[in-house]
């Protein structure tokens, strides 16, 4: 493990988001942790133990995968699991999005992606939600956003207990 390398280009990776109905319009939200992605300003990592800088031997930082396929696999896998940290219920999402994300600041590279201190979406592809949602996200985040419909299913809410 080497430490301290300086890179002058932002990292580029892939993520999946759900889209929630925010006060000022649709907002990107992380899948597992309670993080809403602000528009026109970077999201900064905040770890209760380590602050904004991701540490090698912890899971803190903003995560991104190396490939689109890995991000889609993650979406599909998340469907069958109950989020532990996420307080907003996935069944209330306006849509699902996959896209590229830029990362910078202090970062840790991984074999299948990276974790960074700062991140901002680079471009978005709405999988569920429609073209109007893609347009609204493009306007709000000022990034390219398209609509496509691959075979990704929305999470099914768990049955209510009596």
């Amino acid at each position: 493990m080497t430490r301290g390398d300086i890179v002058t280009e932002a990292l580029r990776g892939w993520r999946a988001w759900q889209v929630l109905d925010g006060r000022d319009g649709p907002v990107l939200a992380s899948w597992w942790v309670n993080a809403l992605w602000p528009a026109r300003r970077p999201l900064e990592s905040r770890c209760v133990m380590h602050g904004p800088h991701p540490r090698v031997h912890h899971a803190c930082g903003i995560h991104a995968f190396s490939t689109r396929e890995q991000a889609l696999e993650y979406l599909d896998r998340s469907e069958g699991e109950r989020p532990l940290l996420f307080v907003r219920r996935p069944e209330h999402a306006l849509g699902l999005v996959v896209g590229r994300v830029s990362g910078w600041g202090r970062a840790v590279t991984h074999t299948r992606g990276w974790r960074s201190q700062f991140a901002y979406p680079h471009d978005l592809c709405v999988l569920r939600g429609g073209r109007a949602l893609a347009r609204a996200l493009a306007d709000r985040y000022a990034v390219d956003a398209s609509f496509s419909s691959p075979n990704v299913r929305m999470p099914v809410p768990p049955p209510r207990s009596p």
Binding site: M1, T2, R3, G4, D5, I6, V7, T8, E9, A10, L11, W32, R40, R41, P42, V56, H57, A59, H63, A64, F65, S66, Y74, S102, G103, W104, G105, R106, A107, V108, T109, H110, T111, R112, G113, W114, R115, S116, Y120, H122, D139, Y141, A142, V143
Partner: protein, 45 residues
């Protein structure tokens, strides 16, 4: 949580330009100042 594999190395990423769009939505264009219709000068008889 996202399975991004084993950690490899810690780096410091300092992009020359921060990849966050700064431009705001276009404001409605200001109306053009009113210009009076050209009036034909009466031709001298």
């Amino acid at each position: 949580m996202a399975d991004i594999g084993r950690p490899e190395r810690e780096i410091d990423v300092r992009p020359v330009e921060v990849p966050v769009p700064r431009e705001l939505p276009l404001e409605p264009a200001e109306p053009e100042p009113h210009r009076p219709e050209p009036v034909e000068e009466p031709t001298p008889a």
